[in-house]
Amino acid sequence: MWTWFHKLGSPPHFYRIATRLTPWFGWAALLLIVAGVYGGLYVAPTDYQQLDGFRIIYVHVPSASLSLFIYVNMALAAAAGLIWRIKLAHAIAAACAPIGASFTFLALATGSIWAKPMWGTWWVWDARLTSELVLLFLYFGFMALRAAIDDENRADRASALLAIIGVINVPIIKYSVDWWNTLHQPATISKLGKPSMDSDMLIWLLIMLAGFMCYFVAVVLTRAKAEVLQRARDQKWVRQALEGK
């Protein structure tokens, strides 16, 4: 039963699969994001309260949810690498960090652009904003720790442990709007039964989210491929994969 799992853990096999999958996710991301942008900007009805200002939600919410999603992914990959000593999992965790940091930054930036007209300020020290900022620092710490350790094996394991410790912050961010009475509005799409958003608006948000997900998968596969190639640079299959096509 575990053969497929072990097979996936072998770098050449992963490299082949990733090479085949990346274009699919890349194109899907492009189509979904183009459709989502068009739908979000032109088709979706205007909000009764925030008028057209709410449309930034189509970038803000997907990047904010991805910032958390990627962190959890990174921590899971890191834990898998630490527990089963799979080097590939460490490579994936390493590939996740810069993408996650970018999405966190994007969520903070779009949030602050949205906050200026709605709340009248670029930034407030609200629980969700602060914890999202902490998430950015966690990503930075992860990357800085990796960069500071020369030995690859030790860098992998040390940063994996750090990623796992940092998971504590994830539920704090996720539920900060429910736990504390803050300025940030409560979650829009997490209430599965009855979303607080009109379905004409929601559908584009979900399309955008799916597009961002596909984009993340495409980029993480590409980065992980590069990471795997670099780690296996003195092995035979790399030469075969790169030259002998």
Binding site: G141, A144, G166, I172
Partner: protein, 227 residues
């Protein structure tokens, strides 16, 4: 050979670390001095108006305590790793997590407890209302061990690094931010006459969480750093 029990080993380790610390009394006082110095800087840099100082007192007190514990975390395991004691501890029949917890307890007795004891004096200098002093002391007594435990895990991760530098603060600060928030809130609540029990309970819960989880994180991190 007779292997000492866990309790005995724990106490012996704490006693050894305290003894070592008391032989270098100069270094012992460093975090405390730092704590006092940082809090003195604020009245100098800002306007020394009592009302202004009173308003910023909780923040200054807590940030200074946090920075002092950061400063101390750097040296928590460094010497033992350099002279090989840590490897012996890792090889010893006692669990490494327990021994590192003992080291952190000793470290708290040396660097954290003095901050708690000195906080009324510093608070007085910042015109902190007298009613807020007991709460602040309790909150600091609950929070400083958390700071040391988290600092210890991160110090264990970075102990082998030659270019540690500011890395340790980048790793510790995001994790301990809730401690700072609840601690400062407890002081703030006591100042305004609100019952600070909620914030104190949260700090106590965080302390329990830290005591039960961080020793294992510390031990895992130390094993990674040692090989």
């Amino acid at each position: 050979m007779d292997i000492p029990g866990l309790g005995t080993a724990f106490i012996l380790q704490v006693r050894r670390d305290l003894q070592l610390a008391f032989r270098h009394v100069g270094q012992l006082a460093n975090p405390l001095m730092f704590f006092i110095m940082v809090t003195t800087l604020f009245p100098l840099a800002l306007n020394p108006m009592p009302r202004l100082l009173e308003a910023i007192a909780p923040g200054v007190l807590w940030v200074a305590a946090l920075l002092a514990s950061l400063l101390a975390a750097e040296g928590l395991f460094r010497q033992d790793v350099d002279d090989g004691t840590m490897e012996q501890l890792a090889l010893s029949p006692q669990p490494l997590a327990l021994m590192l917890l003992a080291k952190t307890v000793a470290h708290w007795l040396i660097t954290g407890l003095p901050l708690v004891i000195m906080s009324p004096v510093v608070g007085y200098a910042l015109f902190l209302p007298r009613d807020a002093v007991p709460t602040t002391m309790i909150a600091l007594a609950l929070a400083t061990p958390i700071l040391n435990l988290v600092g210890g895990s991160m110090a264990a991760l970075t102990v082998g690094l030659r270019r540690g530098g500011g890395l340790l603060s980048l790793l510790i600060l995001p994790i301990v931010m809730p401690v700072l928030i609840f601690g400062a809130r407890a002081t703030d609540m006591a100042m305004t006459g609100v019952d600070p029990a909620g914030a104190l309970y949260l700090l106590a819960a965080l302390l329990l969480l830290a005591v039960s989880l961080t020793p294992f994180a510390m031990a895992a991190a130390m094993r990674i750093s040692l090989d």
